[in-house]
């Protein structure tokens, strides 16, 4: 089973790189949707079939792979923006940083004290790598929508970590967390709409009137 | 005891104007003139006492308070200071401070009285008077401090008491410096050349005289008498320092003291004859120099 999960996790990491490297917003969102779908598989792969994992997988699929991407796609359709043209930090440097972060996470994870089953698995390094890739995306992009994608990837990283500890999170809480995220992104979508109405752009670079 | 008190009072009341006469006579002799009689100041006082007043319409009661305080203060101060070996009638711990501050009181009223006339000349005089006093007062105090240290006492009687004879032997250098400093104080406080000229009428250069320019009649008599008293009182300090001996007989003591005072008067007359008035801007420098001398005297005894 570990091999399968590792494969999925590797895909997740690759998607991270893809989002870091692409300027097309639609592609970005699709990539995140795919990542969400992959993540939804993980509980099943890691813990086997049970009611708990099934429900969790279903929820994750619904929210991460379907609802949120739909929401985001609708938003970009409304605000008519398709590309991240001038990121704060260029695509190549971002990719390089992403590679650095990811390899750092993988190396660092070797030094972490882990329980025996997790030694060989890629769960923890991938979680960390995904988390910080999301952070990187948040920090280097100007477009609000890309930043939301970054936030999503960041949450995905946490989700990966959470799968290891699904006993700690009762289903209610897990569901609540995902719901919270959904509502959060919904509200962000509304705000993005407002931004584009007010500024006729989604550039958060313009959003720097409040200083000091 | 009673005899000493009597002698003290007699000296205070009768002796001072004579000093002015001696000074004038000395200067006249130096100038090759015969000069007025020695008792001329007494005649002057008498004449002024009889005269009427002319008072400027700008002035108020403050104008008249000047001469009054100017007379009262030296009188009281004279009761605090021993005349040679004759002890002061009033003596208590810390009377030296009262002694110094009484003169300041007189200065306050003299200067105010000058300002009351509204004349800028008198204002100028008052300004100079208070300025130079600031520089003289510390000197006087330093001198007294040296004496406190040497005598171990806190009243003028003790300061100028029997210890002086031995102190001249143990701290002669310091006392010598004191004498110099005190002599300068005496000259400044009594408006003598080289610091001030009691006879000039060039208003712009004068200090004390210009302040009393508007006074006349009895008020002016008070000023004159007060000035001579001041000379006596400050001179008494100096005389006791220079002639610290104690004969045991009050009469002889009084005579020694008066002789000493006359000697000082003659010295002043000589100085006034041989020196010119200092430039006004030089005066502060000289006064600060004197303060330095007195500080040095203190350092010598503190060592």
């Amino acid at each position: 089973m570990i091999e399968l999960s590792n494969l999925i996790l590797l895909l997740v990491v690759l998607i991270n790189f893809y989002t870091l490297g692409t300027s097309r917003l639609v592609a970005c969102i699709r990539a995140v949707a795919i990542q969400g779908g992959l993540l939804a598989l993980l509980p099943l792969v890691a813990h086997g079939l049970s009611l708990h994992t099934l429900i969790l997988a279903f929820w994750a699929l619904l929210i991460k792979a379907i609802l949120i991407p739909t929401l985001l796609t609708r938003t970009i359709r409304e605000v008519r923006i398709h590309r991240e043209i001038e990121p704060l930090v260029g695509f190549v440097p971002t990719l390089a940083l992403g590679a650095l972060v990811t390899s750092g996470a993988f190396i660092f994870a070797n030094y972490l004290p882990l329980i025996a089953e997790h030694r060989g698995s890629l769960f923890i390094p991938t979680a960390l790598a995904t988390f910080f890739s999301g952070f990187l995306l948040l920090m280097t992009r100007r477009k609000a929508i890309t930043q939301v994608v970054g936030y999503l990837i960041l949450e995905n990283g946490i989700f990966i970590f959470g799968i290891l500890l699904s006993e700690a999170m009762p289903l209610m809480v897990e569901a609540g967390v995902l719901l919270d995220m959904l509502v959060g992104i919904f509200v962000m979508g509304i705000v993005i709409n407002q931004i584009s109405r007010e500024f006729s752009t989604m550039n958060t670079g313009r959003l720097s009137a409040l200083k000091e | 005891m009673l005899l000493q008190l009597l002698l003290h009072l007699l000296i205070v009341l009768l002796f001072p104007p004579l000093l002015l006469g001696v000074i004038t006579r000395t200067k006249a002799l130096f100038a090759g003139r015969k000069g007025p009689p020695l008792l001329q100041p007494y005649y002057d006082l008498h004449r002024l006492w009889q005269k009427g007043f002319v008072i400027s319409r700008t002035t108020t009661w403050v104008f008249r308070a000047g001469p009054i305080v100017g007379l009262t203060v030296p009188l009281l101060a004279a009761l605090l200071i021993p005349f040679g070996a004759i002890p002061a009638p009033f003596s208590f711990n810390g009377d030296l401070i009262l002694f110094v501050y009484l003169f300041a009181l007189a200065r306050f009223f003299t200067a105010s009285s000058a300002l009351d006339t509204g004349s800028s000349f008198e204002g100028m005089g008052a300004a100079r008077e208070v300025t130079f006093a600031c520089l003289v007062e510390p000197t006087l105090l330093f001198a007294l401090i040296v004496l406190v240290r040497l005598s171990g006492g806190f009243s003028l009687n003790q300061l100028l008491g029997k210890h002086l004879v031995t102190s001249w032997q143990s701290a002669g250098a310091s006392l010598l410096l004191l004498v110099i400093a005190l002599f300068v104080v005496l000259l400044v406080e009594n408006c003598r050349i080289p610091f001030d000229d009691p006879n000039t009428h060039l208003e712009l250069t004068m200090i004390h005289e210009v302040m009393v320019l508007d006074h006349s009649g009895p008020a002016f008599a008070m000023i004159l008498y007060g000035a001579s008293l001041k000379l006596l009182v400050l001179g008494a300090l100096l005389v006791r320092l220079l002639l610290p001996w104690d004969s045991g007989n009050p009469g002889v003591d009084a005579l020694i003291f008066m002789a000493g005072m006359l000697g000082i008067a003659v010295t002043i007359g000589v100085i006034e004859s041989v020196m010119a008035r200092l430039q006004l801007v030089r005066i502060p420098q000289l006064l600060i120099g004197t303060t330095m001398i007195s500080i040095f005297a203190l350092v010598l005894v503190l060592r």
Binding site: L112, P113, L114, I115, F131, F135, L138, A144, Q147, Y151, L154, E155, G157, I158, F161, G162, L164, L165, E167, A168, M169, P170, V173, E174, G176, V177, D180, M181, V183, G184, V187, M188, V191, Q194, I195, E198, F199, T204, L207, S208, A209, L210, E212 | -
Partner: protein, 474 residues
């Protein structure tokens, strides 16, 4: 009872969405505020058992809930008049969001499960975003966006931190759970490496929400652009709730014997907050931003107090109460001044005491209170913290603490005095006047602050002492 306190504002919020009448909708707020305060008071008087696995109040959370409830009560009364003043904006969203916000804050204080706590805190972020966007202009949208993004990211960090805690349990070979009491009980078995990392993530996460420098960057924007009433709730209520979350993490660290490390980190952030606040408050041109930095400053003081420990812990908890009430008083009165001058720039505001005698006076008194002048409550708490600093032998820290307080006083003083003194410009005149409902709530808060400075009611003192015991290293 607790569940009721969480649910009824939610129900009222739903009602607010459906109620057609703009006028009656406003009155839902005082209703909720009063009911909530009544409920909390009755709980405070007859303490419940600590509670089950999900909800429960211990002295620490009761303290925070009590403060939040009092503040919310004052703001809810203020809101009625305020919303009527701004009737052009409509009240549906704001009333509903305010009610949901109350529910989320209550849930966050009462949660015994860290996951639930996280959910509730995230819910407060989402519920308060529309509140900040109330003015619907460019600046407020910018502020909302920044608030939403930075706080969400911060909260995400906290979630990761919680998972680290769970992993620490996993590695320690004990029951893997995020139920707080269980976690506390088995703390000595937790893996220290994961625990340490978890604490850092929790501290940074909730620290962002609380507004410790340098994680505070959203704060001036959000407080500056939100209406004064919202600023009061955020600065007084939400920060306290986030601080509670950090204290929970600290409790676990204490129990695991890592308390010193945790305190050290809190101390570092606290001093940095004080420093940053001092730098930003000098010649601050915008009064609401100034209050935001003042909030950063006070978060720093709280962190320092907890970081020092000992008697300073008592001071910090008392300061939590004082800070909430004082900030509420200041934000509400500054809201009035903002209305009366139609500006929040100090270049436009002069002579507030003449134009608004009562609000201006409250604002000025609030300034003295917030800077720790006797006889107001914050003096007692700041002074107690200072005592703790000295008692711990940190003399240089004490010196820096006092120096920074002095700079804050100078910076804030020049702004505040420039506003309240002098004569108002005619050009800035508006029709706004002090009315009872707009003045009574801040006045109430001010009197409470004054009361806390003159007299510490024994029940409160008792509560504080119990809470301190919870934070002490056993």
């Amino acid at each position: 009872m607790l569940l009721f306190l969480v649910l009824f504002p939610l129900l009222l919020g739903a009602l607010a969405f459906m109620l057609p009448s703009e006028r009656w909708r406003c009155w839902l707020l005082p209703l909720a505020g009063t009911l909530h305060l009544g409920g909390v008071t009755s709980i405070a008087c007859h303490p419940l058992p600590v509670g089950d696995l999900w909800l429960g109040l211990d002295p620490l959370s009761l303290l925070v809930l009590l403060v939040t409830s009092i503040l919310y009560f004052a703001c809810s009364i203020y809101a009625v008049s305020y919303l009527q003043l701004r009737s052009d904006r409509g009240t549906r969203t704001i009333v509903a969001c305010l009610l949901i916000f109350l529910s989320a804050m209550t849930l966050a204080t009462a949660a015994r499960h860290l996951g639930l706590l996280w959910m509730a805190v995230e819910a407060t972020t989402i519920a308060s975003a529309p509140l900040i966007y109330y003015n619907r202009n460019r600046l407020s949208i910018e502020a909302t966006w920044k608030y939403l993004l930075i706080c969400s990211v911060g909260i995400a960090l906290a979630l990761l931190g919680m998972l680290f805690l769970a992993y620490a349990a996993l590695l320690g070979g004990v029951e893997v759970t995020l139920q707080f009491d269980h976690l506390l009980a088995e703390s000595s078995f937790l893996s220290t490496a994961w625990l340490r990392a978890g604490f850092v993530f929790l501290l940074v996460g909730f620290g962002t929400k609380m507004g410790l420098a340098p994680l505070h960057s959203w704060k001036p924007d959000a407080y500056g652009e939100a209406p004064g009433m919202i600023g009061a709730l955020l600065a007084g209520g939400l920060t306290s709730v986030s601080f509670l979350a950090i204290l929970r993490a600290l409790q676990i660290m204490n129990a695991a014997g890592l308390g010193d490390l945790a305190r050290q980190q809190l101390l570092a952030l606290g001093v940095l907050s004080l420093l940053i606040a001092a730098i930003f408050m000098v010649r601050q041109n915008d009064v609401k931003r100034m209050l935001a930095y003042s909030s950063v400053e006070h978060m720093g003081i709280l962190a320092i107090g907890i970081g020092i420990g000992g008697i300073a812990t008592f001071g910090a908890l008392l300061h939590l109460v004082n800070n909430a009430l004082t900030k509420g008083c200041m934000f509400l009165s500054v809201g009035n001044i903002h209305r009366a001058f139609a500006s929040k720039k100090i270049t436009d505001i002069h002579g507030a005491m003449r134009r608004l005698p009562i609000s201006g006076t409250i604002f000025l008194a609030g300034f003295f209170a917030v800077t720790g002048s006797p006889p107001f409550g914050p003096f007692i708490s700041e002074f107690t913290i200072l005592r703790g600093i000295f008692a711990g032998g940190h003399f240089w820290l004490a010196g820096a603490f006092l120096l920074l307080l002095a700079i804050v006083f100078i910076g804030m003083g020049s702004t505040v005095l420039g506003m309240v003194q002098g004569t108002p410009d005619e050009s800035t005149d508006t029709a706004f006047k002090d009315t009872f409902l707009l003045v009574a709530p801040p006045l109430l808060l001010l009197l409470l602050v004054l009361l806390l400075g003159l007299y510490l009611p024994p029940p409160l003192r008792h509560l504080l002492e119990e809470a301190v015991v919870m934070l002490e290293v056993k």
